[in-house]
């Protein structure tokens, strides 16, 4: 009889309980599933729908991580800042925040969160150097490159590339093309353009001279105009070519720096939440 009443109570309790799919432990399971499926926005929203008592450091970290991955940096920072210094995630949280400040190019905030005694200091310093390289602020980088691990060695190489870039002078390119048409282009490593400009300017100049000499004035003036067009166009083109060359140097530098940072995951440690 006792068992009967216990069973009856059980049935009533099953009847009366809320939808099991909405129970916190199931919401968490579902959110974990979404997180591992890389459906980050939904995962974050599911975690947030948990009551505050269920929001452990791990869950807050995951919410912040979700928002960081989808580029909602403000929301991500809000959650990262909620993780206390006592948490096991704290050091990595600082790296994650550093990464967001780096991506936002916010040097002031990055500086404010760097404390030499903390474990994350070294990695934040690397981000700070990378940010200065990104912004081309090379003046005080040398003083920051104080460590000798592999990343600092690579950053030192980037620093020397940034400090002494392989630029071409726009003035030199212009002057060279003014003296010998096409030579400015050759200086900026546009060899085929340089040779073509030289030949075309030469041919039209010769034709202009020869036609004027033989009093074929109309053709003479026409070829003079074309030759002048090629000549001045080539000077302008050489200056532009030097600018393009320099832009390519900058672009290539920034791409290499970005590839390095992505490869090193912005010095952030990744946890294996999905194994």
């Amino acid at each position: 009889m006792k068992s009967f009443f216990i069973s009856l109570l059980l049935i009533i309790s099953i009847y009366s309980q809320s939808n099991p799919l909405r129970q916190p432990q199931n919401i968490k399971l579902f959110a974990d599933y979404l997180f591992c499926e890389q459906d980050y926005l939904r995962a974050a929203e599911e975690y947030i729908s948990l009551k505050e008592t269920y929001l452990s450091d791990t869950i807050i970290y995951k919410i912040a991580k979700c928002y960081s991955i989808i580029g909602e940096f403000d929301k991500s920072l809000n959650y990262f800042f909620n993780i206390p210094a006592s948490s096991v995630f704290y050091d990595n949280v600082k790296r994650e925040i550093g990464k967001i400040y780096f991506l936002n190019e916010d040097e002031i905030s990055l500086n404010k969160m760097m404390f030499e005694k903390e474990n994350s200091f070294n990695d934040l310093l690397k981000l700070k150097i990378a940010l200065k390289l990104l912004k081309n602020q090379t003046d005080d980088i040398e003083n920051l490159l104080t460590y000798d691990d592999e990343d600092f060695i690579t950053l030192r190489k980037f620093y020397s590339q940034r400090k002494n870039p392989d630029y071409k002078s726009e003035t030199v390119a212009g002057i060279l093309s003014a003296i010998i048409p096409g030579s400015g282009k050759i200086y900026t490593e546009e060899y085929s353009d340089g040779i073509t400009a030289f030949i075309l300017t030469g041919i039209f100049s010769y034709l202009a001279y020869d036609n004027l000499k033989h009093e074929h004035n109309f053709r003479g003036y026409l070829f003079t105009g074309i030759a002048a067009g090629f000549y001045f166009g080539n000077i302008y083109g050489s200056v532009a070519s030097a600018q393009i060359f320099n832009a390519k140097v900058d672009f290539s530098f920034l791409r290499s720096l970005s590839e390095f940072l992505i490869k090193r995951n912005y010095f952030v440690k990744e946890y294996e939440f999905c194994n």
Binding site: S3, S7, I14, F30, L34, D39, E45, F204, R219
Partner: protein, 277 residues
């Protein structure tokens, strides 16, 4: 007494299964109501929740199919195709397979991956299970041809299945097109003609003028026995203008055809009430 308790426990287990079933049905209703209210983001979340907790996979087809539809409505075509594919895998009869495959076709058409749509349609056409759906298969094949810019082919297929309105529209569009080859070759014969043909009169006049001028320079140089002048003028002036002239005519014809296509597609989008991809 033991017997009564045993029966009672069995009833308990049975009832807990029934409750689970009830909750899953409720979950499906919730997801469907969000879907019907066009709240696609939330609907996808709820269908995914249903899929996650549906251990017997009884809702796999419906949920995956609806997720596919929701992604399609949201313009996330690659995601939609993925879920229509999952719906196909979880289909329990040939009708469900057909439905999920047709939606893969429709989404592929919208994604402009018409080669993939054609491949699926060919598979459906050659599958005896779907012999009763031949008209529908051809209908989507014609739509695929429209998006592949093969209007004449689309016209023929629509005509075969008596879709006269669409067939006429395809034929009209086809007839409006400029011949790219005619524009190009007529400009080769008479500089500027291709531009006139495509309605670009100023460009045609300019093209004609430049060709006359550079041609005159070249010929007059040869007449004056200044051979080098003539060769340079021909190569660096006349031939450049001549080549630019027919390339320009070809480009105009292509651009005009693109705008004709876009006009028809816009018309279909805004005014056609039948089934669209």
């Amino acid at each position: 007494m033991n017997f009564v308790i045993r029966i009672f426990y069995q009833l308990l287990i049975l009832s807990s299964n029934l409750f689970a079933q009830q909750y899953l049905n409720e979950q499906l209703k919730t997801a469907d109501s969000l879907f019907n209210a066009e709240k696609y983001f939330d609907a996808i979340t709820e269908y995914k929740r249903l899929l996650y907790f549906d251990s017997t996979k009884q809702f796999s087809f419906q949920a995956n199919f609806k997720i596919g539809l929701a992604y399609k409505e949201g313009g996330k075509y690659s995601e939609a195709i993925k879920y229509f594919g999952l719906a196909e895998v979880n289909a329990i009869n040939s009708e469900q397979i057909f439905e999920s495959k047709i939606y893969q076709v429709r989404t592929n058409i919208l994604r402009m991956t018409v080669f993939r749509a054609d491949k699926i349609l060919d598979e459906l056409e050659n599958d005896n299970r779907f012999a009763g759906h031949l008209k529908e298969i051809k209908y989507w094949k014609a739509w695929s041809k429209i998006f592949a810019d093969e209007w004449e082919e689309a016209y023929h297929i629509f005509s075969q299945i008596n879709e006269t309105k669409l067939a006429r529209l395809c034929l009209n569009t086809q007839n409006k097109f400029y011949s790219v080859d005619f524009a190009k070759y007529s400009s080769m014969i008479f500089p500027g003609f291709g531009q006139f043909y495509t309605g670009e009169y100023i460009s045609g006049l300019l093209s004609l003028g430049w060709n006359i001028f550079s041609g005159y320079l070249t010929i007059s140089a040869f007449n004056a026995e200044r051979i080098f002048d003539g060769i340079v003028s021909a190569n660096l002036l006349w031939f450049r203008f001549y080549r630019g002239n027919f390339q320009n005519a070809e480009k105009f014809a292509r651009e005009k055809n693109i705008s004709i296509t876009n006009e028809t597609l816009q018309f279909l989008n805004e005014n056609f009430n039948g089934l669209k991809p």
